[in-house]
Symmetry: C2
Subunit: 352 residues, 2 copies
DNA sequence: TTGTACGCGTTATCAA
DNA sequence: TTGATAACGCGTACAA
């Protein structure tokens, strides 16, 4: 094949206008167009205008695949969550998404199903494309996964919890303190036989349980029989299930701390059905403070957790890092708020 | 710069092994490696083994960005949903995700917030990277959006609903029929003053309302005053809100059809609080059949919708299309199931 | 079945 | 501030 053939080579292009098309129309080099799009301030006003016109005339759209290849950086943020049906993570995702409007970054997410093995596998998939940032749930990554994160070559945010040794950044709150807060509230209002119901029992659940236990031991009230857990997924019906187990083990229960609001709802319904009044016979508290807790009958005490804010601020931290800013805070504690409601107070809710 | 300098050129590589590295180690051409990875059956067993060894030795991982550029096809499937907090779409996403294990495709999702403008914008972003497939919610895309979808150059699945003119493929069920089913059930059990509560009022909500209305008119029971809706987001507390509005407009209500289960929960709690018994005084039905409906007290009649299955099968349809299979069914109706429970039957729930 | 040569569309390098 | 040129790493076309 001689050089004369070169021009006859088949072009495989998609037909979409390219940077080169824009460049020739604007009478500039391709790199100038690239610059004008990415760093407008580094290009003279005149060229910027000519390029802008050409872009509009041609309907040019950047090819992110080519960009990713050339720069070894994809405009994608990888997000790993352990569950999707769990309302908590849906809210986190919403926060992440809302934090990303007006950004060229895309969310790519994956569901680890609470599996460390899956998490590591998915992380490798994400890493293969040189993501702009990674957001992972929890702080208990096994060594291999942690090592992958440390060498990710991009900002990494661990969300939902806080701990002493962030891979890079962390945002969340203390589940241990959350567990303590609920238990303390019940102790303070006079309860002694306070049960704990937990499902799934991921690391965060264990920390809430540990918080509950610490308070109970302090008060001299702890009793193994008061704790009822399962590794099965959490659900409203599981709440009823666990309640029945707990109530048959310890019929002298005077309160129940639930690991999350789904379980608490299940307990509420089970008590209604069994004719056990809340809060008169049994006091009840949940965790997360889903919207429903406030309007339930009776309304249910819960720990409000900043799920949306976690997602939102995780993105803010990522963006700051990508902009080269190094904030002093690499570990952000967003705290929580104990919402005390009818289910743990004596008043007759119908008169409230 | 003379040719002698060429070898001194700065390499910008990431340091990761490339196809060429694998090829030279295995003593084959790069394209053979590429083929061995994508279509193992087209490569001889011997080379396949040598290549496999080289891949493992080097820890080679495909660079999806380069792959996407070369083939003008990213291993990404774009998913557009109108909401994330809505449990319904969380389940759809879960189905999509589960359908994608063992696939090299990644999910890239975006939240349209029920906005057509956002939907179009996000679609353009997705399209710019040549996705392998697109999944969009609903069937009411405006002309511009529809045109984008028709020219997407990849499989497109419209989910949640079915209709006469799919862009490409559709999977869902008839919301109109769903609305009819609930209303018919209530009419058949003797109700006449059946209210309808709706929030958000997206196209699917309107179709459920239309189904309800059709049945009510048929029965000679329709009354505008029985319909209470808002365009505000749906929530449990909004259910209580709408109930109070409806009850003051039409205190002779004998049943309520709720546009979704969140509203129904809100009604349940509001009735408890107001001392109105369900089902004795007011019968109640929801839509979607969230897990909670089954264990609520009283348990709540609802229309079970195949949310997880929609996601799951949407992926199956995509994969079939990508494999070149053209199934006869481009519109798949997954149907729904009316779950009749205590909230619309006379028995005293505590004895059940 | 296997290999060669080149194109995909962008960004980095370096010089002007 | 601007541009020429190469490089990113893989897939396609076509030939062997």
């Amino acid at each position: 094949m001689d050089t004369a053939d070169v021009k006859n080579r088949v072009r495989r292009g998609s037909g979409r206008p390219t940077l080169a098309d824009v460049a020739s129309r604007a009478g500039v080099g391709t790199i100038t167009v690239s610059r004008a799009l990415r760093h407008p301030e580094r290009v003279s006003a005149e060229l910027r205008a000519r390029i802008s016109t050409a872009v509009n005339d041609l309907g040019y759209v950047l090819n992110p695949n080519a960009s990713a290849l050339a720069s070894a950086r994809a405009a994608v943020i990888g997000v790993l969550v352990p569950s999707l049906t769990n309302n908590v993570f849906a809210e986190v995702l919403r926060g992440i998404h809302d934090g990303l409007v007006d950004s060229r970054l895309q969310i790519q997410f994956a569901n680890t199903h609470y599996s460390d093995v899956e998490e590591e596998r998915l992380l490798r998939v994400f890493l293969s494309q040189y993501p702009s940032a990674l957001i992972v749930s929890g702080i208990d990554q096994p060594p291999a996964t942690r090592s992958l994160l440390e060498n990710a070559g991009c900002p990494v945010v661990q969300i939902m919890e806080i701990g002493p040794e962030p891979v890079d950044m962390m945002i969340g709150f203390s589940h241990f303190e959350g567990g303590k807060a609920v238990a303390r509230h019940l102790i303070e209002t006079g309860c002694r036989r306070i049960g704990f119901l937990g499902a799934r029992m991921d690391p965060r659940s264990h920390r809430r349980l540990a918080g509950y236990r610490a308070v109970m031991e302090d008060a001299g009230c702890f009793d193994d029989a008061l704790v009822t857990t399962t590794t099965m997924p959490s659900s409203v019906s599981m709440g009823g299930e666990l309640f029945r187990q707990a109530f048959s083990k310890t019929p002298d229960l005077d309160a129940l701390v639930c690991n999350n609001d789904d379980l608490a709802m299940g307990v509420l319904f089970a008590c209604h059905r069994a004719g056990l009044s809340i809060p008169e016979r049994i006091r009840l508290a949940g965790f997360n403070d889903l919207e429903m807790m406030r309007v339930a009958f009776p309304s249910i005490t819960s720990v409000r957790t900043p799920r949306y804010e976690i997602g939102r601020q995780a993105i803010a931290m990522v963006q700051a890092a990508l902009a080269g800013e190094k904030p002093p805070e690499t570990v952000v504690d967003l705290g929580f708020e104990l919402k005390i409601r009818e289910s743990t107070t004596q008043m007759n809710p119908r008169n409230s």
